[in-house]
Amino acid sequence: MDLINIRKANKKYNTGVTAIYDLDLKIKKGEFVFVIGATGCGKSTLIKMLYREEKPTSGQIIVGGIDVAKLKNNKVFKLRRQIGVVFQNYRLLEKSTVYENVAFALEIFGTPKDEIHQKVIKVLELVGLKNRIKSYPNQLSGGEQQRVAIARAIVNGPKLLICDEPTGNLDEDTSSEIMEVLEEINKLGTTIIMVTHDRKIVERMNKRVILLDAGRLLKDYEKGTYKNESI
């Protein structure tokens, strides 16, 4: 079953720049997909359209049964509840603890306290931060902060996890640890789309790879085929 179905999507910013051209793409439930390409080729624009941060200028984008292009502004939250998003710069609340940062994503829905506690602890355990729940973001390393961001993104149990260069600020070892966490989350059933510049990670992970070039889909490498071709 396709979780994501993109047909003839175009995105032209009102500055006149066209970031995505006639893009067709299908992603199945449970897949792990890398999106790569030169800087400015439209990777971020593509995933922003998935969680409706940007609207396609034309074409159709369906995510989890929701027609994103036709989604009204005041209904966007329904889409966002099915999607977790992680960025290069973590975006944590500096004045809140690790626990509070993660709990935040549940509190705003009026989840009962004990249910919040249960879910937060479980997800912090998954990302390996169970012993740091009382720490503040500025007391954590970059890798640890990114784990908190990931925990917050998945605590709702989203169908889709979108990561825009989640390892962009991290060294090689820390990046590997983050990738292990993502792999684990993917194994538990969450579809993951990850934008990255890190060729080593892409080669090592052996996943499907989408290569963009100047807003067009240049190549769609099946799972495990990327390494062979790029050598």
């Binding site: 969680y51 502004n73 005041n74 966007v76 939250f77 329904k78 889409l79 966002r80 509840r81 099915q82 999607i83 977790g84 998003v85 975006r91 609340l93 935040f104 994503a105 509190e107 705003i108 829905f109 009026g110 989840t111 009962p112 917050r152 993104a153 709702n156």
Partner: protein
């Protein structure tokens, strides 16, 4: 249940925000306080003036003194002419014998002085006591009565009553204008406070959107913050109005300057005013924050 938990969280957040931007919140709260104090004074004043005017209209009487030389026929003639006047509600004749008797009964001093007078010596005159329908035309009516033949003098507390009412009307008008402009200034201040709150919480708002908070869910805390500012700002005016008016009423025994000017009983009056003050505070607070949210929290 869920709604209550969300609301509870929003209330907690709004309260935190009021404390976090303390100096700004204080500016808004003081502004509301000043506005509501002026509102309160205006209401107290205008309601008492209205009350006073009603009492005056009931009490003010034109006294027409009649020449001592008249015959009974002349008196009947005067009565008929008074009866014909438009603005006259009721009238009553008091003969000089009755007046003398009343006065002598009322005090020993009068008894001693007046007891010696013979009927011819008595300087007291026959009178008509006239009550009017429309207090504002009392001057006209008095003049018309004076023009009647054999009426010598007419008295009705000339000028004093009308002038007092006129002054109060001017005060009422000025305070109305003040209240309106203060309300506008306050709404602007609150709007500004909420705007700064919105900017200081940009990251948080961004994350809320990202994790799927609905628009209402994002906006409510800011509206609530305005509401809190309104409630906090109305505390001092309510307390001052309640205790101030009660002690004013007590000190002056329910009268101001003379028994003529009666104050309204505090009992339900101050509750009404307090209700109105809180309502205005809350409305202005919420209006101010709603404006800021509409302008600066585009979703």
């Amino acid at each position: 249940m869920k709604v209550f938990r969300i609301l509870g969280r929003n209330i907690r957040d709004s309260f935190k925000s009021v404390l976090r931007n303390f100096s700004l919140s204080m500016a808004s709260i003081s502004s509301i306080t000043i506005t509501l104090l002026v509102v309160s004074i205006s209401i107290v004043l205008s309601y008492n003036v209205n009350n006073f005017a009603v009492l005056v209209e009931k009490d003010v009487t034109i006294v027409a003194f009649i020449e001592n030389s008249v015959t009974d026929e002349d008196i009947a003639n005067i009565e008929e002419q008074i009866n014909r006047l438009q603005n006259v509600e009721t009238y009553e004749f008091q003969g000089k014998e009755d007046i003398t008797k009343d006065m002598m009964e009322s005090s020993d001093v009068f008894q001693n002085i007046m007891g010696g007078w013979s009927l011819d010596e008595n300087p007291i005159q026959d009178t008509f006591l006239v009550k009017v329908t429309d207090i504002e035309q009392i001057g006209d009516t008095a003049t018309k009565i004076k023009e009647i033949e054999n009426v010598s003098v007419v008295k009705y507390g000339e000028g004093m009553v009308e002038q007092l009412i006129k002054i109060f009307q001017v005060v009422e008008r000025i305070s109305f204008i003040m209240v309106i402009s203060l309300i506008l200034v306050t709404a602007f201040l609150i709007s500004n406070t909420i705007k700064i709150t919105i900017f200081s919480r940009k990251t948080e708002i961004g994350i809320m959107r990202l994790v799927g908070a609905s628009n209402i869910n994002i906006k409510i805390p800011f509206i609530l913050e305005g509401l809190f500012l309104g409630i906090l700002g109305s505390i001092v005016p309510v307390v001052i109005t309640t205790y101030g008016y009660m002690s004013l009423f007590k000190n002056f025994n329910g009268q101001l300057f003379s028994p003529f000017i009666k104050l309204i009983n505090p009992a339900p009056f101050i509750y009404y005013i307090s209700g109105i003050l809180v309502l205005i505070g809350v409305t202005v607070g919420m209006f101010g924050s709603w404006r800021a949210v509409r302008k600066h929290l585009k979703i």
